[in-house]
Amino acid sequence: MFDQFGLLPIDVALGVVATWLMLGIAGLLLQNNRLATQIIFPAGAVCSLALALAGVGGLSETSVAILPLGLPDLPFHLRMDALSSFFLILLGSASIGISLFSVGYFRNMANDTVALLTLEYHVFMAAMALVFMADDAYLFMVSWESMALSSYFLVTTNHEQPEVRRAGFLYLLIAHVGAIAILMSFGVMQGGHGDYTFNTMRHTHLSSFWASATFLLALFGFGAKAGILPMHAWLPEAHPAAPSPVSAMMSGIMLKTAIYGILRVSFDLLDAQMWWWGVLALALGLITALFGVFFAAVQVDMKRLLAYSSIENIGIILVGIGLTLIFHNFQKDALAALALTATLYHALNHAFMKSLLFLGTGSILHATGERQLGKLGGLIHTMPKLALLMLVGALAIAGLPPLNGFVSEWLLLQAFLLSPGLPHAYLNMLVPIAAAALVLAAALSGYVMVKFYGIIFLGQPREEKLLHVHDAGIWERIGMLCMVVACFVLGLFPTFIILQIDFVTEMLVHHSLGGSALKHGWLLLTPIQAERASYGPLILFFIIVAGGVITSLTVKKYYHGRLRRGPAWDCGYPEQTSRMQDTAEGFGQPIRKIFEWFMGVVKQVPTPFDTHPHFHSETHDRLWNLFYEPIKQLNEIIGIQVGKLQHGRIHIYLLYSFVTLLALLAFIQ
């Protein structure tokens, strides 16, 4: 689409990256100028738009570029094929809204903080863009770690709070260990002849053992970034700690870089897959999804809740990848294409829905200064515009028609339903169970979202100060509006989106839905055939709207329209206060009761004789004790033991070198 300017998509993308970097530096230099941020962030948003367009251009035509940087015999290779372009679109389109929102959000922060934020924020985006475009292991790792680093500094923006520091540390540590694992997987794939371009990796053939090792390393490494169990521990810590636009960016976009990595390695770089990889991914994904949604249901901090919901969605995406792997291995390419489409679609959806919600929490945080659900409530009266925007987000992420969350889940379920006929009997058994678990997770996310939205916006304000808070500012609303629009477009016009995704599926599994998806016009989404499955979100939407409108009109017409306002029914108990509403803990209580065995619940129940009865109950992540604590302690123990070697006594030291000498001499004898 840029041909008329003689530009390749990748040139545009690189231009955007460069501009971002320059904007960041400008932000750092102009730090005493208030206006700077007001200009820089919108400019960044414009770049995002350009990037998205470049991505659209890049879907159909692969373009490459080589920058004379990096290692002497390994300049930076960049490549923009369908997969990269798709994720670049994701990055570009989702970051528009976030950048616009940030203009308003960083409005009243200290100058130097904003300056640093501006730099880190734009470097972060640039790094992510480079991750998607990198075509050699070195550039990939460099941008990957730069991404981790910049996001780390973003997370620790207000580092005065110890828990923020802890969160940042945990995040960077897990990210770094993951990065080393990824690096090793590249080490295997480069196949000896120190050439690290992806192109060589594509053509090196690995034995099944080494291929599996690579896949496992990559899954571990990228999983650490995506928050797949059991490497999820950083996620619910880091997301709440970060400023909201950053949380949105991390949860909405950065997690997808890991998805991109898994897809890139397992479908593009590795020449052959094994079916059990798929099963592994499927199982991990399901566990992650269920874990995430269970814990989301019992959270009392709104950003933590969203963080856990991100874990759930990543799980769902991973399930999709697993299915794709399985189908692809049994040469069921149509199904593989369907599953992959669902996966990518959900990744795209999640980018918008989750960013929207995180941005919303940001506005709430600004207005009320509260993150605890237990101290919010009734905001729909004081922040009506925000409430409306957030309602869309909540419904979308709850996977309800006709919004976008439903489309991807629908596609994924179709993939499950059409799966029978795999050569493995056990797989055939496993698939419906997996589908059941997936549906359970999806249904629970509805529960979570009702809790989230209801507790924050509905009911009566639980605190005095909530009565006079201001609604979200204009910039913030514009930012969120972009997201809302995206949610609707993705929800109502799936066929067009799928046509774009087809380029990716064509590239990865050599098959696409394109033909069948559009057979029955753009109104009906028919992945295989109309008889087997079809879904017309637009029709659905219109029927519901029409139904509602008709009803209300008729009612209006024949009803006298008399209406009285009165107090809520107090059930014969006059002293009802807003504190008697259901709390977040209360709302999560049934889930906690059902899954108590699964999560470590610490309760403090008052005795009947307490003068100041106080009920307290918190839910802990058991995996922390099962998985992280032992490692920590082992490390401690070894540390102590090794420390003993540094004994302080010179004779002992002499003895060391003496023994070493004798040992070596004896060895060469």
């Binding site: 010179i650 004779h651 003895l655």
Partner: protein
């Protein structure tokens, strides 16, 4: 059995060196330790001179003279000076009891000989078997440094080790190039001075030369 007389002398010296090394290992009194060290130097320079004579390598004479000057006169004198200044003539207590150390030393000698055996076969010099002894005396002085708990004996052990090295240099090969030997000698000398300064500093800091005070720096 027709080894030339000079070679016999050198082997003799080697044997004496080893003997002295053992004597130092077992020596309790610090003064006699230093005397033994001086004696070792004497034997060393003697053997160097003999090698020089037998292989008429002139530069070895210099080296012998250097050794005599440095290791027999200068260093022992400095050491004497030091212990007089620091008045430390006390007995040297070792970390383990002497017989054990002797046994270990014996084992070391055997080990060193085995190690050197294949090499000394190819030695071009008239003194084949001395390399093993040199190595043995190096290891013995190492052992001595490990087992002595005071600063001065440790340093003496250090110097004795250098003697062993010199003996290796002269006997196995006809001495290192002159420039190298000079450099080594210079280092040893400077090192000795610095050590001397150190003894005083240690005295000031810990008012004792016992190394057990110097175990503060460690992981805890």
């Amino acid at each position: 059995m027709n080894i030339p007389f000079t070679a016999q002398i050198i082997n003799m010296c080697a044997a004496v060196l080893l003997l002295i090394a053992f004597a130092m290992l077992s020596q309790r009194r610090i003064l006699s330790l230093i005397n033994l060290f001086a004696m070792q130097g004497l034997v060393l320079s003697l053997s160097t001179a003999v090698v020089a004579y037998s292989s008429n390598q002139t530069h070895l004479y210099y080296s012998a003279g250097l050794t005599l000057l440095l290791k027999v006169l200068l260093l022992p004198w400095i050491l004497h000076l030091l212990i007089r200044k620091l008045n430390i003539k006390w007995d040297v207590e070792t970390m383990f009891n002497i017989p054990t150390i002797m046994l270990i030393g014996l084992a070391l000698v055997v080990f060193a000989f085995n190690l050197a055996a294949p090499i000394s076969q190819m030695a071009g010099t008239i003194t084949k078997s001395t390399l093993g002894i040199a190595m043995a005396s190096v290891l013995l002085s190492f052992l001595m440094m490990i087992t002595r708990s005071k600063a001065v004996p440790q340093v003496v052990g250090f110097l004795a080790m250098e003697n062993g090295l010199f003996f290796a240099a002269t006997s196995a090969t006809y001495g290192m190039p002159m420039v190298v030997e000079l450099g080594i000698a210079l280092d040893v000398l400077v090192g000795m001075f610095i050590l001397g300064i150190f003894f005083f500093q240690i005295r000031v800091a810990f008012d004792s030369l016992d190394l057990k005070h110097m175990e503060k720096l460690k992981e805890d």
